[in-house]
Symmetry: C2
Subunit: 433 residues, 2 copies
């Protein structure tokens, strides 16, 4: 790719979208990436930097001087600028900020850095188009021309009163459709959705998705307009959230990717495997307690992996439906109704599976009492596993813990132990040991 | 809620956002929902209908006449209108369409119904703002006022040539900032992203997310502008996709919710449990083959649920990372490198877990050879499970099958059987049977 012909390379890259260049750089080695970043002007490279994979961006930033980073940051919107700076080591943060030349941009970035990353304040940008209710449409259009130059996409125009309090909104479309002598106070829409600066980003995402908003203004407790959040940032929040839930369900903590280092991947995966191991050792203990019946009913021991698998699968299914229902706010009705439904559902599934087990036992010529004992105790295990899978996430959610943690190894492991214990107890009652 | 005082109720509801009213109706019984829908005017109720839960919408629509549905549909944008009609039974579709009064709206809806639901054509709306390159800014603003009244949000203005071919775009902002005597051909941006009408919606979502687009024009093979897709529809696609992957990983097919009927939930869940059952019965077969060693090394049998759990957990972890990597396009490098990495990773994890198993064996006074046999064979099982978890999704993806199907019961079940088989074979070599 890099044959030192700077001009040709520059021309070539100028035809690509920054997101595509970022994808190419993610594939190159570090030296080449830094080389390309230094070659292009900061207007393009700032956007490329934002699109780079986080790990690669960290490495590239290490190879740029504070002055160079400050130049990149000048080109970015305040929200992206604050994100980049927040990723730097603390001692470099102050250095980079001190080298930003535009005093207003600098002050805004410093303001944004003060907010918690997972709050609306941490996600919002200071760039927005704001008009005072006293302006006319014509005057408004004139002034918006100035403001809009700094704003990548306008979306909504926010209407404030003299105290900078948010009182309404105006779409560009309304403004264009209105007559030029009208006053803003006559045409603005008072019904405006907004979020508080301390609101959790996941909550903000829910509000925006529910009302199909493409941007939402952010206010403080006095209703003063502070910034706005746009839908593209929310898409990232939704994707990260979905990825996180998916990984948790698979027994992976932390946000890891296929291309992360072995150490990072081990840190994210090993703890869950250790949990599973302890669960398995628990089963070993339980089964050791029944060692004396091994000679008389060996088949029970052959069925233990099946019982564990059924308990695990049913638990994961039940918990996944509840976790998703909780996330989308569609778990309704009383706990008792849900309990009855889950019992009914697992009885149907359990009965169908029990019949198959009986059939299998018959085909392989197994003792009927044993087959019956296995089938009935498996059915009980399935009912209990479904209840555990349903109620653990609900209880976690009520206590303010992310219920997603309950799907996956946590439920599987506890259902494995519980299932094998129940299996031997119930089968024991039927066979009589 | 409903005490028959229509006026008071109407006033009360008029203050709510349609998304909130839909949420309230989802909680009410059918008669009350239909009552409220009939009470309010179709401008509001059409939006409410779109926000209702799909099952509830189906029931409400059954209680409305074709004429009433046609009235609702008249108020909706073409994409939503087509979605509602597509949900109706076939014989009602034609009836409702014939009762739509606006001929243009009707023709557009019929056009949209012809596209595949999972293609860009099935997602796009006909509403958009289109200008010809020959217009002036002033003339353009005048005409846009007319077009824009039909379009909920303007986003971008698409520039076409005389043959209706898409040649560029213009943002409302650019138009406002431009001087009124300028020609469109002087100020439009030729660099416009677009998708083909047959493109898969998931591909469209990727393009829009990558380039941070809030709307994208849809064209046919001649580059003729047909419609546009907006980001709010894409958010729904992304969420459904994430929900589907999450459910598949948990062993649930079809898009079910916590509040669906027991029958629907059984249909989505039972097939995966049957798969798991067959896997379990496979383990029974394998273990029956080793019945003769039960008396000499009973402990091996106690460890089978542990082995199955480890094989399952490792497989799910590996496959989840690959499935996510494939979805986000960040699985890079050669297959050999990925193989080496996965082997390295699982050796580290497996070794740590093997040490714990040895320690446990020592603490409970287990025969050292047996502990060693168990630990070593478990480690082998973990390595194999990781490889299966990594390569099954990659192979499925290469063959054009959704790799998400590989995470969950499919991987767990095959790893369970494979794991238990390997466990006995390897432990057998070490202990000597």
């Amino acid at each position: 790719v890099l044959n030192q012909d700077d001009k040709a390379l520059k021309n070539l890259l100028s035809e690509y979208h920054y997101a595509d260049i970022a994808e190419i750089l993610d594939e190159l080695n570090l030296d080449d990436s830094v080389y390309v970043i230094k070659l292009l002007d900061s207007e393009t490279t700032s956007d490329i930097l934002m699109e780079l994979d986080e790990d690669n961006r960290e490495k590239v930033l290490k190879n740029l001087s504070s002055k160079e980073i400050a130049e990149e940051v000048e080109e970015l919107d305040t929200d992206d600028a604050a994100d980049i700076i927040a990723e730097l080591p603390e001692e470099r943060q102050a250095e980079v900020i001190s080298k930003i030349e535009d005093a207003e941009h600098k002050a805004e970035i410093e303001e944004l850095l003060a907010y918690d990353e997972s709050s609306a304040g941490g996600l919002m940008a200071k760039e927005l188009v704001k008009v005072y209710e006293t302006w006319t449409v014509a005057g408004c259009l004139r002034r918006i021309r100035g403001q809009a130059r700094d704003v990548t996409r306008v979306h909504s125009i926010y209407v404030v009163d003299k105290q900078e309090k948010l009182i309404g909104r105006l779409s560009l479309k309304d403004l264009i459709v209105a007559k030029s002598e009208q006053k803003i106070s006559d045409i603005y829409i008072t019904n405006v959705d907004f979020v508080n600066v301390d609101e959790d980003v996941e909550e903000v995402a829910k509000v925006m998705a529910k009302y199909d908003l493409e941007a939402i203004p952010v206010v403080d407790e006095n209703q003063t307009l502070l910034g706005r959040i746009t839908i593209d940032d929310i898409i990232d929040v939704l994707r990260e959230e979905a990825d996180k839930d998916y990984q948790l369900a698979a027994g992976i903590t932390q946000d890891v990717e296929a291309d992360d280092s072995i150490l990072q991947l081990t840190k994210a995966r090993l703890p869950w495997l250790v949990l599973g191991l302890f669960g398995g050792l628990g089963s070993v203990f339980i089964m050791q307690g029944y060692e004396n019946i091994m000679a008389t009913v060996p088949s029970l021991f052959f069925y233990t992996p099946l019982i564990a698998a059924m308990a695990g699968n049913v638990g994961v299914q039940s918990s996944a439906i509840i976790v998703q229902g909780l996330a989308n706010n569609n778990v309704k009705g009383s706990l008792i109704n849900r309990l009855l439904k889950e019992v009914g559902l697992s009885l149907i599934n359990g009965f169908a599976l029990a019949l198959l087990v009986m059939l299998f036992g018959y085909l392989v010529g197994q003792n009927t009492t044993e087959s019956l004992a296995i089938a009935v105790s498996m059915m009980s295990v399935i009912v209990v596993a479904a209840l555990v899978g349903t109620f653990v996430p609900i209880i976690l959610d009520k206590r303010g813990i992310d219920p997603a943690i309950a799907t996956g190894p946590f439920i599987t492991t506890s259902n494995d132990i519980l299932g094998i214990y129940l299996f031997f107890v119930i089968a024991g009652k039927i066979i009589g040991f």
